[in-house]
Symmetry: C2
Subunit: 241 residues, 2 copies
């Protein structure tokens, strides 16, 4: 088998010792459109040995469908049910871990990737890419109608962050009793090919600061991501941490 | 003197003991358009006794001119040089406390009140109400041209907060060596007649979070506000804290 001969013997020995393998995506398995050196060979070896593979990423901008397309483009064998982005993990957390009521709604500060995942899981949501929230028109609290069914606020990277979104989220978190404060990830920065920008975690910081409390984080390094993988993947054996 | 007879004798005694009197504005001297009970009588007494009066406010949305008009409307005798908003104090801090170079520029995340004060002090600035920053169009880091003359970022309450502004501010703070990170105030919330909204301090939180460091705060309760009053008002005697 050519794959094995191209790998160090200690790599092969390591592979033999574990049944489930988890890989980071952007900046881990690849950088922009370039596969990481050795990634292809290691993944081929794991497939050959029938290992369970999970791809995890804190990037909640893209849905699993988007990631599947990226894997295909890079020539990596990957399946939808192996991909856990923080957008998908957030919806799994709501639907399968805490059994979020189908009658309740989530107020979203996020981009379309998250909305796609919420739709797929049948979770009602407000905000996100709604044009009445993605606006720089003044927010008048006197005109705001509180939706009492909003029982969670979920924030992530949102390049369309507005004061209207922050203000509405703040109303739900302070006026709807028990409303949960969730973030897809706590990444302070968003490194990319041209430099570094404020990350998804930074964009929920106004709410942390105004509320004086931290949200529950779904993405890495939170173990909630692992809980979501456990719930959805019967093939995955993950020891409790 | 009718003023004195309407006041408690212990108030009169207190007034006699101090030369300089500082008053908060919104929520202190008045609530919305309603003067606080007793405020008018106390201010008349202080004027009659030739005391030095200073009005301080963390509200950086309005310039001193705006505040002077508010005092006039409420029928309170007040003069421009007695009014210290955090917008004005921030410009005094730059121009008179740290002697900010006229060749350098400030990148502003704020509303027009601050820009008016910066103009009055002859300080160059970028951002603020500039339409190329007040936009929800995507921010492309590859297209961003860093202005190497930006030596400070000054943030406050800005209902037109955008990812473009946060991204540009982050570039200046991380790429221009020694660029100062200043906030007009650290108010977590902005209480108003209809409820509570995220405050000016909350809107600089993405930068605090992404940078992993706190800014220098100009407004109350920072003593920098007092330094600015000392610099500008020779009549004011303020003991060192």
């Amino acid at each position: 088998m050519p794959v094995l001969t191209s790998l160090q013997s200690n790599t092969v020995s390591l592979v033999n010792n574990y049944d489930t393998w988890m890989f980071d995506c952007d900046g881990g398995s690849w950088h922009d459109d370039q596969l990481t050196d050795g990634a292809f060979d290691v993944l081929c070896l794991l497939r050959h040995q029938k290992k369970t593979i999970v791809f995890v990423t804190n990037n909640a901008m893209k849905s699993r469908r988007h990631y599947k397309a990226k894997f295909d483009k890079l020539g990596i064998e990957a399946y939808m049910d192996e991909i856990y982005g923080s957008a998908y993990a957030s919806t799994v957390y709501l639907s399968s871990v805490i059994k979020f009521s189908k009658e309740k709604k989530v107020y979203v500060i996020r981009m379309s990737g998250l909305e796609e995942e919420l739709k797929d899981e049948g979770i009602q949501y407000l905000g996100g890419t709604d044009s009445s929230d993605c606006t720089l028109a003044p927010f008048f609290l006197a005109d705001f109608v509180l939706d009492e069914d909003v029982a969670a606020v979920l924030c992530g990277y949102d390049s369309n962050i507005t004061y209207t979104k922050l203000s509405k989220a703040f109303q739900y978190l302070t006026r709807n009793l028990g409303c949960q404060f969730l973030v897809t990830n706590e990444d302070t920065t968003y490194p990319n090919a041209y430099g570094v920008l404020p990350g998804g975690g930074a964009l929920s910081a106004p709410l942390r600061y105004a509320l004086g409390k931290d949200p529950l984080c779904i993405g890495k390094p939170s173990t909630i991501m692992l809980d979501c993988i456990r719930v959805k993947s019967s093939r995955v054996y993950l020891p409790n941490l």
